[in-house]
């Protein structure tokens, strides 16, 4: 077989691939590179230094924003993943019922509606509640994040459930395992990779949300993306590069961890 007749041979594809990779990652590489810059410019290189990491570490605004971001992302991740898991079960592990499609559409609504519409609607809705009850706090922000994180967590979990053969669960039920036991011992462990992927996605989506957070966040609830946005008019310093690099590192570690975890599960199955 000559090279040209091999179906797997796609001329020019590796070039395109490299171009795409460069397109996606070159800006990030530049960002990381300039976080080690000595002067305060994010475009002119002078010499290597860790000054901006030290400055960012001591900057109270950044500290608070990073903590708020993590707090909101972690709680929204947990809540939305739990709800998404329940939603995925009820839309795949049941006999078809009236309104099934409608339920799926409602769950995925945050993906369909433009984010700014959700943001303004949420702002007004929460303002009414706040004025009526007098209750304030970060709970509103977490609720908003949880809501738009659900579809992101839902998709991989549902995909996983659809891929899973029903026979194991049926076999379990045949052997007189009560439904909860079937769920606990068969369904849940099998869908775990999907749940982890969903949780991951929810975490990342919450972490970098700007529009909804901008509208909903109350006093003392500035998240890192909002903090960065606020810097733009006055000029971005490499401090922001340093913080972004740290967060990039956290994401990479998280993805690697989940990848390895998922792999371990699959190996165990074989």
């Amino acid at each position: 077989m000559t090279k040209t007749t091999d179906l797997r041979y796609q001329p020019g594809f590796s070039l395109i691939t490299w171009f795409c990779i460069a397109f996606l990652y070159a800006p990030i590489a530049v960002l990381v590179w300039f976080s080690f810059n000595q002067n305060r410019s994010v475009t002119v290189w002078t010499e290597f230094s860790l000054d901006w990491y030290v400055k960012a570490w001591h900057n109270e605004g950044i500290q608070n924003a990073a903590l708020v971001s993590l707090e909101v992302a972690v709680i929204a991740m947990i809540l939305s993943t739990i709800m998404a898991t329940m939603a995925a079960l009820v839309t795949t592990r049941t006999a078809p019922y009236r309104g099934l499609n409608l339920s799926v559409a409602v769950i995925n609504q945050p993906l369909m509606v433009p984010e700014v519409v959700t943001a303004v609607a949420t702002l007004i809705f929460f303002a009414i509640i706040k004025q009526a009850t007098g209750v304030t706090g970060i709970g509103y922000l977490i609720a908003a994040h949880t809501a738009f994180c659900i579809p992101f967590a839902y998709m991989p979990i549902r995909a996983r459930l659809e891929d899973m053969d029903l026979s194991l669960e049926q076999a379990g039920a045949d052997l007189y395992a009560p439904p909860f036991k079937v769920f606990r011992r068969i369904t849940l462990p099998l869908m775990m990779p999907g749940i982890l992927a969903g949780a991951m996605l929810a975490f990342i989506v919450s972490l970098d949300d700007v529009i909804i957070t901008l509208f909903v966040a109350g006093p003392g609830e500035t998240t890192l993306p909002i903090y960065i946005l606020g810097q733009i008019r006055r000029g971005v310093t490499p401090e922001i590069n340093a913080v972004s690099t740290v967060f990039l590192g956290i994401s990479v570690i998280l993805v690697t961890f989940i990848f390895l975890f998922g792999k371990g599960k699959n190996l165990g199955k074989q």
């Binding site: 605004g61 706090g137 810097q231």
Partner: protein, 343 residues
């Protein structure tokens, strides 16, 4: 496992409610990003035993959208001049009468009777500056004090110009260059303006807010700029000269104001009075790099700031013009020109 998660959530929920119940001794400041000196805040906190939170916004309009709904929870906002006028009109600001506070005597009299808050019943000066342009004097050696450098540039500046991506700043500069009035609804004059801008645009390289980056990376040799940004850019590129065009230029002022129904209104008043002390005003200037309008603050300011030609206007420069918000009809016409220009 499930129980653990549940208890965790409940514990977290508890901490939030606990954190928000104790509202006494708090103050929530909502200001432009990177614009509040943390040392100044610390000084206020220590003096009055009040815990201050600072959140940031990126534009007057974002801030307005948020506080307009009510219940935002913020006490202090720092809107620009025209936004103060809008917010007073909409009834969003509390009439706290800073003009009766003990430190009001420090406010420079030229900042008292201003179009956005005549007599200062709602707000006090925070920082003020000018919007002009800055140009590399080693590239262009002639007189910098004319708007012609932006709208009819000499050969050495063609294609080396950055304009602010701001409708009012660009259009007002254009109107001054043509010697037409601001808030203009004269169709013939606006048509001429439109043609002039379209032609000038062929000599512009970019329209962008990131003035300092553009200048220090030598991407452009002239940029429309706020005076504070021009000063910071000059630090890395000493050849830059800030222009005070003879045709006139825009001044702006950000002001400290209290939101209507602010949860900590007494603390907000204390903060306002504190912000009128020369020491606090100087601390803000040293951090944000703009002038503050408080008499007696200069001795506390960095000499680097009080000697900067961008901050201290030369006597020969015309007085900055503060442009009130234009009528809707005018804004619509401007928007058309602006959209056309950005095509």
């Amino acid at each position: 496992m499930k129980n653990k998660i549940l208890t965790m959530i409940m514990a977290l929920g508890l901490t939030f409610t606990m954190g928000t119940v104790s509202a006494a001794g708090e103050l929530h400041v909502y200001n432009w990003g990177n614009y509040t000196n943390p040392d100044m805040i610390k000084k206020f906190e220590e003096k009055h035993g009040i815990k201050v939170t600072i959140d940031s916004y990126d534009s007057n309009e974002t801030m307005l959208a948020k506080v307009e709904q009510g219940g935002s929870g913020y006490d202090i906002v720092v809107p620009g001049d025209y936004m103060i006028a809008i917010m007073i009109k909409k009834g969003l600001l509390e009439r706290v009468e800073p003009n009766k506070m003990s430190n009001f005597k420090n406010v420079d009299s030229k900042w008292v009777n201003v179009y956005w808050d005549d007599g200062r019943n709602y707000s006090i000066p925070y920082q003020w500056g000018t919007t002009n342009f800055t140009v590399d004097s080693s590239v262009y050696k002639g007189d910098v004090n004319t708007l012609a450098l932006m709208f009819d540039p000499p050969a050495e500046l063609k294609g080396r110009i950055n304009m602010l991506k701001d409708m009012n700043d660009v259009i007002n500069a254009g109107l001054r260059y043509l010697n037409y009035p601001r808030c203009n609804s004269n169709k013939a004059q606006l048509k001429e303006l439109n043609n002039m801008l379209i032609k000038a645009k062929t000599d512009w390289r970019t329209m962008d807010y990131s003035v300092i980056e553009k200048l220090t990376s030598k991407d452009v040799d002239l940029s429309q700029s706020w005076n504070g940004a021009a000063k910071r850019a000059r630090k890395d590129r000493p050849e830059l000269v800030y222009s005070y065009p003879k045709e006139g230029f825009t001044g702006w002022m950000d002001n400290v104001a209290v939101l209507k129904g602010a949860p900590n209104i007494e603390n907000a008043k204390l903060f306002m009075n504190f912000m009128m002390t020369p020491e606090a005003a100087a601390m803000t200037s040293n951090f944000a790099n703009y002038a503050n309008g408080i008499i007696g603050s200069e001795p506390h300011m960095n000499t680097e700031l009080t000697s900067a030609p961008e901050i201290v206007m030369p006597a020969s420069a015309p007085a900055p013009e503060f442009v009130p918000p234009c009528a809707q009809e005018v804004t619509d016409l401007y928007a058309k020109i602006w959209t056309n220009l950005n095509k």
